[in-house]
C-alpha cells in the first residue's frame, strides 16, 4: 500500500479549476516532486495534503485512512514553507522545539531531540539566535529541522529553495538529498524549476493547468517525454513536425517537409500517415564540417547561423535546408580548441537513429 494516495482530487476556485481529477501514489521513503509552471495547481495540491484547503472532489489517504475533515494540527505531516515561516519571536531552538511542545513531549526529550536535529542540519551554534539574525541558507535549515524534528510521516516542501541565490541553491540541493536519505522520511517537493526536480527527485509528476501530464522517474521524463509539453518543459529540445512514412517493429520512418527522411525507433504500433513531432535533445546532435564523413543515418546539411560559447559547451544554431533552425550542443572537450565551427560555416548535423522520440499530437 502506498503511503499517500491521492484519488481523483479536484479543486475549484470560482470558475477556475485549479486541480482537475489528479490521482497520485507516493511510496514510503520516496523523494517525490510536483513540477510545473506557476498556477499549474501544484501548491494547491500541497495545501490540500497539509489540510489548509479542502478538495471539492476526490480524497487523500494516508496509510489507507482518509484525511478528510482532519485539521492541519492533527495530520502527522509537516510543511516547509516557501517563506520559511519561522516564528520571529522565538529562537532557533524555540522554533524547533515548537512541534515537540505541541505534541506534549517531556522537557528532557524536547532538549535531546532539538539538540540532535540541530546537529543534523549543522546549526548547533545557532540555537540561541533569532531568525532575523540568520542568513537565508541558515533559515532554510531551521525550517527543515523544525519540520523534521517530530519525525512526521511526510514532509511537504513548498518551493523551499526559491528564495536562495543560485550558488547556495545547489549546495542546499545536495544537502537536501543527503538529509532525506539520512532521515528516511518521505518528501513531497513542489517546484517550478525542472533542473531542481531532476536533481533531487526519485519520481516527478509534471503538471499543467491542474492536470498531471506525466509521472515518472527523472531520466525517463527526460529521455521518454510522454508529450510535447513535457518534452518542451524539461530541458532544451528540438521539435520537428513530421509525418509517419513507415513503421516496422521498432523502426520508424519519419518524413519532415523540406528536409527528408528521419530514421527513428519506437516500440509502439504506429499507423502510417499519422502526424506528430520528432523531439531531439541538442546534446545528442553532432555537428560536423560538411566534408567530414559521419557514419550516421540521420545526416542533414546546414549553415551555422548563431553560436553561443558557454565555456564547457557551445550551442550552435544551424539553419537546415527547409529553413528550420536546429540547436546542437557540443562539448568543448578537445584540448587547445575552443570551438569547432564559426558562424556561416557549412556543416552537417547528425544523430543516431535512437537519439530522438516520436511524439503523437
Amino acid at each position: 500500500m502506498a503511503l499517500l494516495e491521492i484519488r481523483n482530487l479536484t479543486r475549484r476556485f470560482g470558475t477556475l479549476e485549479a486541480v482537475k481529477d489528479v490521482s497520485l501514489f507516493i511510496e514510503a521513503g520516496e523523494f517525490f516532486t510536483l513540477l510545473g509552471p506557476s498556477g499549474c495547481g501544484k501548491t494547491t495540491i500541497l495545501r490540500m495534503i497539509a489540510g489548509f484547503d479542502a478538495p471539492d472532489a476526490g480524497e487523500i489517504l494516508l496509510d489507507g485512512v482518509s484525511l478528510a475533515g482532519v485539521p492541519p494540527e492533527r495530520r502527522p505531516l509537516h510543511t516547509v514553507f516557501q517563506s520559511y515561516a519561522l516564528f520571529p519571536h522565538m529562537t532557533v531552538a524555540g522554533n524547533i522545539a515548537f512541534p515537540l511542545e505541541m505534541a506534549g513531549k517531556s522537557a528532557l526529550e524536547i532538549r535531546r531531540r532539538v539538540g540532535e536535529t540541530l546537529a543534523l542540519v549543522h546549526l548547533e551554534d545557532k540555537a540561541a539566535s533569532f531568525p532575523h539574525e540568520l542568513s537565508g541558507g541558515q533559515k532554510q535549515r531551521v525550517a527543515l529541522a523544525r519540520g523534521l524534528v517530530n519525525q512526521p510521516r511526510l514532509l511537504l516542501l513548498d518551493e523551499p529553495l526559491g528564495a536562495l541565490d543560485a550558488k547556495l541553491r545547489v549546495e542546499m540541493q545536495i544537502e537536501l538529498i543527503a538529509l532525506q536519505r539520512e532521515v528516511g522520511i518521505t518528501f513531497i517537493f513542489v517546484t517550478h524549476s525542472q533542473q531542481e526536480a531532476l536533481a533531487l527527485s526519485h519520481r516527478i509528476a509534471v503538471m499543467r493547468d491542474g492536470r498531471v501530464e506525466q509521472c515518472d522517474e527523472p531520466d525517463q521524463l527526460y529521455t521518454q517525454p510522454a508529450n510535447r509539453f513535457v518534452a518542451d518543459f524539461i530541458g532544451k529540445i528540438n521539435l520537428i513536425e513530421v509525418e509517419v512514412r513507415s513503421s516496422s517493429k521498432v523502426l520508424l520512418g519519419l518524413h519532415a517537409t523540406g528536409l527528408g527522411e528521419i530514421a527513428a525507433t519506437d516500440a509502439r504500433p504506429i499507423a502510417v500517415g499519422e502526424r506528430g513531432v520528432f523531439a531531439l535533445r541538442p546534446e545528442l546532435i553532432r555537428v560536423f564540417g560538411h566534408r567530414e564523413s559521419a557514419d550516421l543515418k540521420n545526416r542533414f546539411e546546414g549553415v551555422v547561423r548563431e553560436l553561443l560559447y558557454l565555456g564547457d559547451v557551445t550551442l550552435y544554431k544551424v539553419e537546415l535546408a527547409n529553413g528550420a533552425l536546429i540547436e546542437a550542443l557540443m562539448p568543448n572537450a578537445a584540448p587547445g580548441r575552443a570551438k569547432f565551427h564559426e558562424v556561416g560555416d557549412a556543416v552537417a548535423v547528425c544523430w543516431r537513429h535512437d537519439a530522438g522520440v516520436y511524439l503523437r499530437n
Binding site: 497539509a50 489540510g51 494540527e73 492533527r74 516564528f87 512541534p99 505541541m102 519540520g147
Partner: protein, 295 residues
C-alpha cells in the same frame, strides 16, 4: 512606505546646461530641493520656522506662566511652584483627576480588547461592514457622536448620565484607533507563520496564545496607551455624555477657563501636557506609526 533614497543632487543649475531662468524667492531653492539653495532655501526655512513658532510659542507661554508668581497672567514676576501646590489641595480638581484616570484605565482596557478583535477580524476575515462600524466614529465630527449617545442614553435607555455613559462613549471612539494599529501590525507579518503553527500541531487556540498574541503585543501596548491618551484628553464627547454628576479633568478645565484665566489652569494644563506627551512617546516606541494613526 516606499521612501525614495536620498538622491545625490546637483551642486548647481549649471550642471544641467540650462541654468534656472529668473527663478526667485521661496520657489527657486525649494523647487530644486537643494541643501544649499541660497535665497529660496532661506525663505523656506524662515517660513517653516515661523510655523513651528506658531505651534510652540502659545504652549510655551502656558507652561512658563504656570511658574509665574502672580495671580495675573499678564507679566513675569518671579518663579514659584505654589500653583502646583494649590492644585494638590483643590478637591474638585483631585476628584476630576481621579475620575479621568479611572475612566481612562477602564475604557482603554476594554477598547484594547475589542479593538484587537476588530483589527484581527478586519485583517483575517475581511467582513465588509466592520471597517465602516469601526472607522466611522473616528472620522466623523466628535459632536455628532456626543449628541447621538446623549440622546440614546437619556431617551432610549432612560439612564442618568455618568461614569457608565462616559465609558461607553470613550470605548466607542477608541476601538477604531486600536483596530487600525493592530491591523497594521498584522499586515506587516508573513501569513504563513500562522499556518506553520497549525501545521506543526498547534490548535487554533494554541496558535493564538503562542504565536499571534506575542506578535501583536507591541501593537496592543501602543493601542492601549493611545486609547488611554484619547480618553484622558477627550473633551467634546465627554461634555455631552457626562451629565451633572461626574467631572473629568478636561471638563474641570473647561469650566475654569470659561470663568477666568488663572495660573492654576496653567499648572493643570502643564501637568496634563506632560502626562499625555509621555504616553504618546511611550506608545510610539511600541509602534512607530502610532503618531500618524492619531490623525
Amino acid at each position: 512606505m516606499n521612501r525614495p533614497p536620498p538622491s545625490p543632487r546637483p551642486k548647481g543649475g549649471g550642471d544641467y546646461g540650462s541654468p534656472p531662468k529668473g527663478g526667485s524667492g521661496l520657489l527657486a531653492g525649494a523647487a530644486l530641493g537643494r541643501p544649499g539653495g541660497g535665497a529660496g532655501r532661506f525663505w523656506l526655512w524662515a517660513a517653516s520656522l515661523a510655523t513651528y513658532a506658531f505651534l510652540y510659542i502659545p504652549l510655551a507661554v502656558v507652561v512658563l506662566f504656570s511658574f509665574n508668581d502672580s495671580l495675573l497672567n499678564a507679566e513675569w514676576v518671579g518663579f514659584t511652584t505654589r500653583w502646583y501646590v494649590k492644585l494638590l489641595h483643590d478637591d474638585d480638581m483631585l476628584r476630576a483627576a481621579a475620575n479621568s484616570l479611572l475612566i481612562a484605565l477602564v475604557s482603554s482596557s476594554v477598547s484594547t480588547v475589542l479593538g484587537a478583535m476588530a483589527g484581527l477580524a478586519m485583517h483575517r476575515y475581511r467582513p465588509r461592514w466592520l471597517p465602516f462600524l469601526v472607522l466611522t466614529p473616528v472620522a466623523m465630527p466628535e459632536i455628532l457622536l456626543g449628541v447621538s449617545l446623549l440622546l440614546f442614553f437619556r431617551q432610549v435607555l432612560d439612564l442618568s448620565l455618568g461614569l457608565f455613559s462616559i465609558l461607553v462613549a470613550h470605548i466607542t471612539f477608541s476601538i477604531g484607533f486600536v483596530a487600525v494599529i493592530v491591523r497594521a501590525r498584522l499586515a506587516g507579518m508573513d501569513e504563513s507563520i500562522f499556518e506553520a503553527a497549525r501545521d506543526l500541531g498547534a490548535t487554533p487556540w494554541a496558535t493564538f496564545r503562542r504565536i499571534t498574541l506575542p506578535l501583536i503585543m507591541p501593537a496592543l501596548m501602543a493601542g492601549f496607551l493611545m486609547a488611554f491618551t484619547l480618553s484622558i484628553d477627550d473633551f467634546v464627547i465627554t461634555f455631552f455624555v457626562a451629565g451633572v454628576g461626574v467631572n473629568t479633568l478636561p471638563l474641570q478645565i473647561y469650566s475654569m477657563i470659561k470663568v477666568a484665566v488663572t495660573p492654576e489652569v496653567n499648572a493643570i494644563s502643564t501637568l496634563l501636557m506632560a502626562l499625555t506627551l509621555t504616553l504618546i512617546l511611550a506608545a510610539s516606541r511600541f509602534a512607530p506609526d502610532v503618531l500618524k494613526a492619531r490623525q
